[in-house]
């Protein structure tokens, strides 16, 4: 498929790239480039005395940073608007009706909406090349950095496009804020995560760090602070199932695979009725969960990860049981993504119930429990097997504790999602938002109470919150087995209650006999 013959890209080009606009953008970019170049090369307080090569590097880094910000943030904002604005202005339906294939339309939006951004990016390229030539940056590294930057920006833009697809009227500002926070968060280093996942940042801004480092070496530097020496990890030193790999390579593969998840997600929905959107089929959602867990498992530091570095006073090692708990708690986020993809709205349920052969009632009433359970089973068992095989036999490990923790984790999530699914079937303006709010308020209150009373590891707390499970060890397990099993039963019971609520909500959505008699009234005149 030829991108340049895509009508949607052509349309965007015609709107955005009119000569006047190009001229203005070009002049602004040239001015910025010249000003930045002038500051670095014609002397300034902070760079006085630097050799020309360093000044060139500085220029390259600065321009690269501007380009990254333009591509990622500017492109992201353009993509957030891409679908939402057309829906707002009632132009989108006409696009849905054309014979553009869903993928064409998706690519047209992804590459069409930020066309002006791409042009600005190109306008800054001469300054960057000049900086690279004057400095001593390696050409191959600059090239790889650009590839990563562009590919990464496309990933972030695709994510923005997914958001655009689901936005409702009047939520754009929030979406843009969320996107900015997401960019900021993913570009900053997370010390806690870095301690047990040997994977560098996934932000496209990493490209700048690569150019700054200007070497392919994976060795770590040596820093000494106050007489002590530290070896801060090299940010490009990833460990894939124990083997060292350069982060640039990992990032490239990650970007490509993430795109393979994001673009089809938009494409399979973009031409549908918005009330009938479904990001992934349940099977695909399960695949996505497995994909995310594959990344987590691949880069996880399985053998006694250690918290170390200038910020940690005492290196602290994890037992295999702690590792399971660490992996499960990271998985809370992944399972929430999974669960939200599985949720169904009233419109979809109505179609099931009205359809010729309605899905078995039991499947509707327990939705999405079976898939969550299956997901927990696959991920949890894989996790336990790897721990079993990798673990240091001298450290604490118990299959019973790990198994119980997994089962509890599964039912705790199932209970939450049965609640959310029920809320989502209620008649209200924003049913899911209300459900999420209630859930958030519940957890906030529970955490505050438990925290204030220092009940975090009290086994009875497990009835309300999963916190005691995360610190569970063999001793605590044998001491409080009955209470913990009781807590598990409480989760199951709560899940059943929400299931019954859901059954009631379903009953209301079934085709009503009254509407049959009403339509029969105006006799058979209607041909």
């Amino acid at each position: 498929m030829n991108l340049f013959s895509n009508p949607e890209i052509l349309r965007n080009a015609r709107i955005q790239l009119r000569p006047r606009k190009l001229l203005i953008a070009g002049v602004i970019c040239a001015t910025i480039s010249i000003v930045v170049g002038y500051v670095f090369f014609k002397g300034n307080v902070s760079v006085n005395g630097l050799p020309v090569s360093d000044r060139g590097d500085l220029l390259l880094h600065t321009i690269l940073w501007i380009q990254a910000a333009v591509l990622v943030i500017g492109g992201g904002i353009a993509c957030i608007h891409a679908i939402q604005r057309e829906k707002d202005q009632n132009t989108f339906d006409f696009q849905r009706l054309t014979r553009l294939s869903p993928l064409e339309l998706t690519l047209g939006k992804l590459f069409g909406a930020p066309l002006m951004v791409f042009f600005v990016f190109l306008c800054f390229l001469p300054a960057a090349i000049f900086g690279a030539a004057a400095g001593d940056a390696s050409a191959s590294i600059v090239l790889v950095a650009y590839v990563l930057l562009i590919l990464g920006a496309i990933v972030y833009n695709s994510f923005a496009l997914v958001m655009s697809l689901f936005l409702r009227r009047g939520t754009v500002t929030w979406a843009i804020l969320f996107f900015l926070v997401f960019v900021g968060y993913s570009s900053s280093s997370n010390v806690f995560l870095a301690a047990y996942v040997a994977l560098g940042s996934i932000s496209p801004f990493v490209a700048i760090d690569l150019v700054k480092q200007n070497s392919w070496s994976l060795a770590s530097e040596t820093i000494s602070i106050g007489g002590r020496t530290f070896h801060p990890p090299n940010p490009f030193h990833d460990v894939f199932f124990g083997a060292p790999v350069h982060h640039a390579l990992v990032l490239f593969i990650l970007y490509v695979t993430i795109l393979a998840w994001l673009i089809p997600a938009v494409a399979r929905n973009i031409k549908r009725d918005p009330t009938n959107y479904e990001l992934y089929t349940p099977g695909q959602a399960l695949g996505f969960l497995c994909y995310l867990n594959f990344i987590l498992f691949a880069f996880f530091v399985w053998r006694t990860p250690q918290m170390s570095g200038p910020f940690v006073a005492r290196p602290q090692s994890f037992t295999p049981l702690d590792i399971q708990s660490l992996l499960l708690s990271t998985n809370i986020l992944l399972f929430f993504i999974f669960g939200f993809v599985l949720l169904r709205n009233r419109n979809q349920i109505r179609r099931y119930l009205h359809g010729g052969d309605p899905a078995p009632t039991a499947r509707l009433e327990t939705w999405p429990a079976p898939y969550l359970f299956l997901g927990a089973l696959i991920v949890g068992v894989a996790m336990i097997l790897i721990i079993q095989w990798q673990r240091d036999p001298s450290l604490e490990w118990s299959l019973a504790v790990a198994g119980f923790r997994l089962v509890y984790f599964a039912f705790w999530l199932i209970c939450d999602f049965l609640f959310l699914q029920w809320m989502n079937l209620r008649r209200s303006a924003h049913p899911l938002l209300m459900g999420v709010l209630f859930l958030g308020v519940y957890y906030a209150c529970a955490i505050i109470v438990v925290g204030a009373l220092h009940l975090g590891s009290n086994p009875f707390t497990a009835i309300f919150l999963p916190t005691p499970l995360f610190g569970l060890n063999t001793a605590a397990w044998s001491a409080h087995q009955a209470v913990l099993i009781g807590a598990l039963i409480a989760q199951i019971a709560a899940g059943i209650v929400f299931m019954l609520f859901q059954r009631r909500a379903l009953a209301e959505l079934r085709p009503r006999p009254s509407s049959i008699s009403a339509s029969a009234q105006p006799s058979g005149v209607a041909s």
Binding site: P7, R11, F94, L97, T98, N347, S519, A526
Partner: protein, 326 residues
């Protein structure tokens, strides 16, 4: 041909005063629309016209039921069905920052027309809706009527056999309405099936071959315009009679009102200056009517003419929909 089978759409309404509600915007609608018809969907606001038309285009998924256009299921094979449909929404906008020809060029490409045919087709369609002078103008600067015509130009661009136009006449001035009607008649002459909705009945009465009367999601009546009107007249026990007289007097009114089978006698509005007439509803056979006229003449009333005024579509509609005419 367009076929609707048990087409149903239920919506959730945002809660009003705390009580949320559901609405059945289309309730088991069954219709067959033959090729070459101009099929009018009539009904007050909220009757479910837009919902039904959107389901026909595949823009909304039905809660249940089937839509087939040219024998293709719209929900399951949208890409195949959509080439046969041209659609104009009730509220729409065009890309304001595009030029008229660019806009049409975009849709021609999006409909996958052969590239070498596109410029000629765009020129042809622009001429056909009378926008030649605006070819290179930005859409932003067009008038409402011009935008409407450009919208129709877009809908017919890929030469679809079925056109779905949702309230195309709303918001147009009388001149633009007449132009629109001519446009639609021309299209129909070229063999296009046109589905058109309106709450302005006079628009439809003139151009439609068939109508579907909708209300609250139900299809009250449907079929050929003449048949729908005839059916309604049959079901009505009373006919509307107009008697032209040289002069209307109170005596005449009293006399008429006292007759058997006469109701609602009243002097009709003066249409032609210098002539007066009386309207009333009459229930009874033609011979009973003849007897009445004879008596009237014998009694000395200055009768000039007797007309059995046909009930207008608007009146029929008013009766069917319980008076909710727009």
């Amino acid at each position: 041909m367009v076929r609707l089978e048990n087409l149903t759409k239920e919506y959730d309404l945002p809660p009003v005063k705390g009580r949320p509600a559901q609405v059945v915007a289309a309730d088991r609608v069954n219709l067959q629309i033959a090729d070459g018809e101009i099929y009018g969907f009539v009904g007050p606001n909220g009757a479910g016209k837009t919902t039904t038309l959107k389901m026909i285009c595949g823009l909304l998924v039905p809660t249940s039921g089937i839509v087939e256009v040219q024998g293709i299921d719209v929900e399951h094979r949208p890409e195949d069905a959509l080439q046969f449909i041209g659609y104009l929404a009730d509220f729409f906008s065009l890309y304001d920052d595009m030029k008229v020809w660019e806009y049409l060029d975009y849709f021609a490409r999006a409909y996958k027309m052969p590239a070498h045919q596109i410029p000629a087709r765009v020129t042809e369609v622009i001429a056909w809706v009378g926008l030649e002078s605006k070819r290179d103008a930005f859409i932003q600067g067009l008038s409402r009527g011009m935008k409407q015509r450009l919208g129709i130009a877009r809908a017919v661009l890929h030469n679809p056999p079925v056109l779905v136009l949702d309230e195309p006449a709303s918001g147009l001035d009388p001149k633009a309405r007449v132009e629109l009607k001519d446009l639609l008649k021309n299209l129909n002459r070229d063999g296009k099936t046109i589905l058109i909705s309106s709450h302005v009945l006079s628009d439809l009465e003139e151009i439609c071959t068939s109508v579907a009367i909708m209300e609250k999601g139900h299809l009250l009546r449907s079929g050929k315009l003449a048949a729908v009107m005839e059916q309604s007249t049959e079901t009505a026990a009373k006919r509307r009679i107009r008697i032209r007289v040289a002069e209307v007097s109170d005596q005449l009114m009293e006399w008429l009102s006292a007759r058997d089978g006469v109701t609602e006698a009243h002097p009709s509005a003066k249409i032609i200056p210098g002539s007066s007439s009386v309207d009333f509803l009459f229930s009874g056979s033609d011979s009973a009517l003849a007897a009445l006229v004879k008596e009237l003449v014998v009694a000395g009333a200055p009768v000039c003419a007797v007309e059995g005024s046909a009930e207008s579509f608007e009146q029929i509609y008013a009766r069917l929909s319980g008076g909710e005419v727009m």
